[in-house]
Every structure is written in structure tokens, then in C-alpha cells.
């Protein structure tokens, strides 16, 4: 299948995350880029933006702004040239999906393809039915590549209301974190630099309410932010980035954002019960006797 990888207002993090896909040799046998930010292709960028070259999938990385150009052609124009002819469009990363990090870069709206943070946008609405969203800052290479193979193999995908494949985005980042026991029993004494502790209570971890498979498929096949001791920053969501990212926003001592789908009353009841007990093993250091 032929892919056009188009960059908008971007940092190229998704491009480099993609290059970490472990089975790149196999991937490059099954897909060809007609243009890519780093990989050489048959066409120059100028040729690709000035003509409409046949291809099957349009990948958009980076946020979209009416004044932003590639090789002197507005990116909106390039997208409108290619959107009608491709089978599928995939937004690669949180910027291309929601606006992301560069949402505030310009006075003019700088948004995702179909969403301005949480709000749907009109400009490309005609192409919403053929779009898939892979959010993330950056994307996880397996999520992007497996989505491309799903397109190639015409496999039906269940999507959420932001067009993200539920196979990856129905999970929360919280699923699979090695610190889960500290969360379960509401042990809120986390210190940075330790193997122990849950970062949800004090240190701003957004994993319980962020969609993603980071702790299921792991990053770079070996780890994740939360396993390493960094709070999840909610990078797959329309609200990324929030502010005060290393601190948990609380109302009357209770975290403002609760785990996905968990009602406040449920949470408070469970918290109350958990806090009535002390579990020695979880109060100690992991390697302590």
C-alpha cells in the first residue's frame, strides 16, 4: 500500500517513534511511502504537494493551521487534494488528532483534523467517515503500524467517538502499571525516585483516566513512564497538555479527576474502606525484609 506521510505543525516525535517499530524490515516490504519526513521516496516533497499522486493512505502528523505551508502550499490544501483519493486517513499523534502541544502556537486556530481539543471541527468533516485517530505524544509505533495493517487487510475496527481504535484505546494507561497495588489499597505516600508507590494521589498521574495501552504493550518493548516512576501526563487525550503536570489537583483532599467511569460515591466508599486497613508489605520498601 502507498502512504503519504504529511507533516503539519509538528516536532517529528511521531516520525521518530515510528522508526522504533521493531519489525521495520517486514513493514517496508508491505508499505511504500510516496513521501515521508525522513525516509527517501520516489517523489520529492515539492512534487507531492503540487500534484495529486496516487496513494492509498494519508497520514497526517502535527496540528493543522490555515496559514501553515509545506513547500509553499497550505497544508489544508494538500489535505483537501489527497483526502478524496485515499482509502483511509490516519491522524498520527495528539497534535493531528486534537491540536495537542501546538494548539496555542498561533493566533489562528491550530487544531486536529476533526477535533479542536474536545470540539468537532467542520473543515474536513466530509472525510470523517474515512479517518482513524491514533493519538499519543508521541504515538506508540505498534499502535500505528497495526492500524495500518488493519487497513491493508480490510479488518473491521471498532472506534471510539474520537475515531481511535478501541483495541488500543479502550484500555486505560492504568491497566498493567506495576504500582497498581499501591493504588488499590490507597497508599498515598509516594516519593519520587522510588520503586514503590502510586503517583495518582499526590503527583499528578493521569493514568486512571487516560486512554491508552502503555502498560499493556509497553514502550520500546521494555517499560512505561509510570513503571519508571514518572506520572502519566494524559498525552492521548484532547486536553493534553494540562498544567501543573506533576501535581494532583484536589477538591477537599479528593483527586479532582477520578478513574474512568468510577462515580465519586463509589470511589469515596472504596477509599474509606481501604484506608481503614494497614497492609505492612505495601507500607515497606519493596526489597525490605
Amino acid at each position: 500500500m502507498r502512504i503519504l506521510w504529511l507533516s503539519g505543525v509538528a516536532c517529528n516525535g511521531n516520525t521518530h517513534s515510528f522508526l522504533n517499530y521493531p519489525f521495520m524490515e517486514q513493514f517496508l516490504k508491505d508499505f511504500t511511502f510516496i513521501s515521508h519526513p525522513i525516509i527517501d521516496s520516489e517523489y520529492t516533497l515539492e512534487e507531492v504537494v503540487q500534484q495529486t499522486i496516487p496513494c492509498d493512505i494519508l497520514l497526517v502528523e502535527g496540528a493543522i493551521n490555515a496559514h501553515f505551508t509545506r513547500a509553499d502550499v497550505p497544508i489544508t490544501q494538500i489535505i483537501l487534494n489527497y483526502a478524496p483519493i485515499v482509502q483511509k486517513i490516519v491522524t498520527v499523534g495528539t497534535c493531528a488528532t486534537f491540536g495537542g502541544m501546538f494548539h496555542q502556537s498561533y493566533a489562528e486556530p491550530t487544531t486536529g483534523l476533526h477535533f479542536d481539543q474536545k470540539m468537532p471541527t467542520d473543515t474536513f468533516a466530509a472525510f470523517k467517515a474515512k479517518t482513524l485517530s491514533i493519538s499519543g505524544c508521541p504515538i506508540h509505533p505498534e499502535v500505528l503500524v497495526n492500524t495500518l495493517y488493519s487497513i491493508k487487510n480490510r479488518m473491521p475496527m471498532t472506534l471510539d467517538h474520537y475515531l481511535r481504535p478501541k483495541a488500543y484505546f479502550a484500555y486505560t494507561v492504568h491497566n498493567g502499571c506495576v504500582r497498581n497495588e499501591y493504588f488499590e489499597y490507597k497508599i498515598d505516600n509516594h516519593q519520587f525516585g522510588n520503586l514503590e508507590g502510586c503517583m495518582f494521589y499526590e503527583h499528578g498521574c493521569q493514568a486512571p483516566f487516560t486512554h491508552g495501552s502503555c502498560n499493556k504493550i509497553l514502550w520500546n518493548e521494555v517499560n512505561s513512564k509510570t513503571r519508571a516512576g514518572q506520572p502519566c501526563m494524559g498525552c492521548t487525550e484532547p486536553t493534553f497538555p494540562k498544567t501543573n503536570l506533576y501535581a494532583t489537583k484536589k477538591n477537599m483532599g479528593i483527586p479532582q479527576h477520578l478513574p474512568l467511569g468510577v462515580a465519586k460515591r463509589t470511589y469515596l466508599t472504596l477509599a474509606g474502606v481501604s484506608k481503614a486497613f494497614t497492609i505492612d508489605r505495601l507500607e515497606k520498601g519493596l526489597f525490605d525484609d
Binding site: 516536532c11 522504533n20 515539492e46 516519593q191 519520587f192 525516585g193 520500546n220 509510570t226 514518572q230
Partner: protein, 420 residues
């Protein structure tokens, strides 16, 4: 004549003037900016910069993270940082530099010297180095594992074993592909003929340059500078081979130019090259001294220096890992919360392409002003007609736009960093 240069983490335009079939002048235009300092950092809480700044760039974001945390730490009068945290930061930074260099050799330079891109030779070692970063910092690209006071992660002896294996595998890759059976020797070799007699992608590239008669192309001011001192890189400047160690940051000045969004940078009013060649000249790496003696600050020396630095960092990082005292804390909470800090802090870190400088001004922990000077600004922004920028000068005399592109990319361009 205008040539669009692509695949440089974005694009740039080179506006050439030819006289007698040779380039007599070139203006460099970077066409866009994301206004990160003005629109995204300003007014934010200090620690948010640790999450925002890796997104300046997708290939050298880790250097931005470390420059950010160091600039924030400079805002404190006193702050305790364990040697373990400092060493972990330097180790993960080296992993990022190494993957940058492999990508540049096999994706950028190969096609400019008559080969096709070798994607798998770029991605294989880069993936291993990314795994090494992720082992310590959770993921790569885009982690924010450095925090004011240290790093968030605890590292165990088991992790150390893995890190050594990642480095061993990458060294083996270097010795299989770049220079057959020869990596440690590069650090002490003082005669490029020894290297040229070896098998491997690097000697092949260098010999091709000589065959084509390009080994003296791309010379510039022969002035080098590096600000980001650590256990390997020395801080200082070198005018040809004459080294000076004291280079206060206050003499670094940025100027807006008329072309595009890249501000030019000078030190005491002069343009300096940054990057692996600069670092090797300041460190007085024997092999690069020999290349410089023969060919000056040409593309030959520049390309050799970057490839050589790959081996240097691989070997040095193994030694650095062995200095880690795991009994030290990864993180020491600062005595004063950052919300109470009103101060300015400045930092310099050696990123893949050269010195990266960050300067932050905080008022009660909120960012008032944040200035970033990237290595690509040093090397690739334009100067004035009286004093050309480093790469502008290097491209003068080239006989074609294609040769100019080789010279331009020998500096390893990062368009997103330059304009941030």
C-alpha cells in the same frame, strides 16, 4: 536560484547566487516557527517546561529535557543533586546522541555520497539505544524523567546488566558495519590512513569523498565552541587548534535575521561551529586532529568527527555506568518548593548537533521568559553580508546546489529546533 532542502526535521530554502558557475552567496531561510517560548512556555508553572520542552524536537527532545531541568535547578541558590542522578542523566543523553548519529550517517549522509539510504542500519542501533533510554526513563521519545532534584526512576543492578548489553550490541553493530572490528582503537588512533585501510561503511564514505575530490569542501571559519561540559565533553572554544577554556554564557548573543525564523547566534560577535567536530577539536581527539591537519574544517573532518563520536560515546558510556553508586538516592526533594522561586537560571547541554542553551526566568515558580538557543542556530542560521553564518561561508565556492546540500547537511540540520 532557490532549492528546497527537505528531510531535515522539516525544511529550509537555500537562495543561491552563482558567479562564474560557482556559488558566491547563499541565504538560508527557515519558513515557520511554533512560537514555543512566547505562546506555550510563557506563564506556565516551572515544572511543566519539563513536559513541554522535549516537544521542541522529536529527535533531540531528551537534550531539551536535560537543558530544561538544569536551567530550572540553576534558579536555586542551593540544591542537592546526587552523583547517581547526574550520571543517569548523562548516560541517557549519550544514548540519544548515539541514535542521532547513526540516523544521520545512514539516512542523511549515505544518499548524499552516492549510496541509497540504509534504513535498517539506521533503525536497528537507534532502537537499541531507545530501549536503553526507556529502561531508565520509561519511554523514548518524549519522557520527562528528569525532575528538579534528580530523576524519578530507581535503577537496579538488573537494569545495569541490560544497559551494558544494549551498549555491547550497539558496539558490535558499529564494528560490523561502520568500521570492521575497530571501535576502541578509534579513540586513540592518530592517523586517518589507518582508518582508511579498514573495511566498513565509514572508510568507504571517506574514501569516496577523496576519490571525488571533495575532502576539502565545506570549510568555514575554523572556529569551534562547546558549552555543555560533562564527564566527556570539555567546555571551551578552539580557534583552529588554539583552545580557550573560559567562555561565559553572557557573551552569547542572538540576533534576528531578515530571512525567516532562525535567529543567528554569536559569541563575542563571532560565529562558531558547534557539534561533534567542535567537540573533537576542543577535546583534541587524535584522529580528528589528524583529519583537521590535512583537510581543515571540511566536510571530511565533520563527517569523520560525528562517526568517531559515536564510538567514543558508546565506550565512554559503558565506563560511566560502572561509576554509578546505586545506594545513592535518585531524587532529593529541594528544600524550597519551586513555587517560591523567583530567579533566572541558565544551562548548556551538548545535544547531538552541538551546544544547546536554555535560559529561564521564574517569578514565584511561574515562567516569565524562556529562551532557547539550539545548535542548528549556531551552525545554520544566516549572518550579515559582512559576517556570514558558519554554513553560509562553508557553501561558498560550491559548483552546484547538490554539493551545497551536502555541505549544508554535513552540519546535521534540525529545522524544528532552529525555529522552535
Amino acid at each position: 536560484m532557490i532549492k528546497l532542502i527537505e528531510k531535515i526535521e522539516g525544511e529550509a530554502k537555500l537562495h543561491f547566487r552563482f558567479d562564474n558557475a560557482k556559488i558566491s552567496h547563499v541565504d538560508i531561510e527557515f519558513m515557520s516557527t511554533r512560537n514555543i517560548s512566547e505562546k506555550i512556555l510563557q506563564g506556565k508553572p516551572a515544572l511543566d517546561a519539563l513536559v513541554i520542552n522535549p516537544r521542541v524536537c522529536g529527535i533531540c527532545g531528551h537534550a531539551h529535557l536535560l537543558a530544561t531541568v538544569q536551567a530550572l535547578e540553576e534558579c536555586y541558590d542551593t540544591l542537592e543533586l546526587s552523583p547517581k542522578a547526574q550520571t543517569l542523566r548523562e548516560i541517557t543523553l549519550n544514548f540519544e546522541l548515539i541514535q542521532n548519529h547513526f540516523k544521520w550517517i545512514y539516512l542523511t549522509i549515505f544518499p548524499l555520497l552516492g549510496e541509497k539510504q540504509h534504513i535498517l542500519k539506521a533503525t536497528y542501533p537507534s532502537q537499541i539505544m531507545s530501549q536503553a533510554i526507556a529502561t531508565v526513563a520509561g519511554q523514548y521519545p518524549h519522557n520527562s524523567y528528569a525532575l528538579v532534584g534528580g530523576v524519578v526512576s530507581e535503577v537496579t543492578h538488573m537494569d545495569i546488566i541490560k544497559l551494558h548489553h544494549y551498549l555491547d550490541e550497539t558496539i558490535q553493530f558499529f564494528e560490523t558495519h561502520l568500521v570492521r572490528g575497530f571501535s576502541e582503537e578509534l579513540l586513540v588512533c592518530n592517523d586517518i590512513s589507518n582508518l582508511l585501510n579498514k573495511e566498513g561503511d565509514l572508510p568507504s564514505l571517506l574514501k569516496r569523498m577523496i576519490q571525488q575530490g571533495w575532502e576539502e569542501y565545506g570549510k568555514s571559519y575554523d572556529q569551534f565552541i562547546a558549552f555543555g561540559e560533562n564527564s566527556y565533553f570539555q567546555r571551551g572554544k578552539s580557534n583552529k587548534t588554539r583552545r580557550t577554556e573560559s567562555i561565559p554564557l553572557k557573551y552569547v548573543e542572538e540576533q534576528l535575521t531578515t530571512d525567516g525564523y532562525a535567529k543567528s547566534v554569536t559569541y563575542k560577535g563571532k560565529h562558531y561551529e558547534v557539534g561533534p567536530l567542535a567537540r573533537a577539536m576542543i577535546n583534541k581527539t587524535p584522529l580528528i586532529k589528524d583529519a583537521h591537519r590535512r583537510y581543515g574544517d571540511s566536510i571530511f573532518s565533520r563527517i569523520l568527527a560525528r562517526a568517531c563520536e559515536t564510538a567514543q560515546l558508546l565506550i565512554h558510556t559503558k565506563k560511566l555506568i560502572d561509576t554509578l553508586d546505586l545506594s545513592q538516592p535518585s531524587y532529593i526533594q529541594p528544600h524550597t518548593p519551586i513555587e517560591e522561586i523567583t530567579a533566572t537560571g541558565e544551562s548548556a547541554v551538548e545535544a547531538a548537533r552541538g551546544s544547546l542553551i536554555h535560559k529561564v526566568t521564574l517569578k514565584q515558580g511561574i515562567i516569565q521568559h524562556y529562551d532557547i538557543i539550539t545548535p542548528t542556530q549556531w551552525n545554520l542560521s544566516g549572518g550579515t553580508p559582512k559576517q556570514l553564518g558558519v554554513s553560509q561561508k562553508a557553501m561558498i565556492g560550491m559548483e552546484s546546489a547538490e554539493m551545497a546540500e551536502l555541505v549544508f547537511k554535513s552540519f546535521d540540520v534540525c529545522s524544528v529546533c532552529t525555529t522552535h
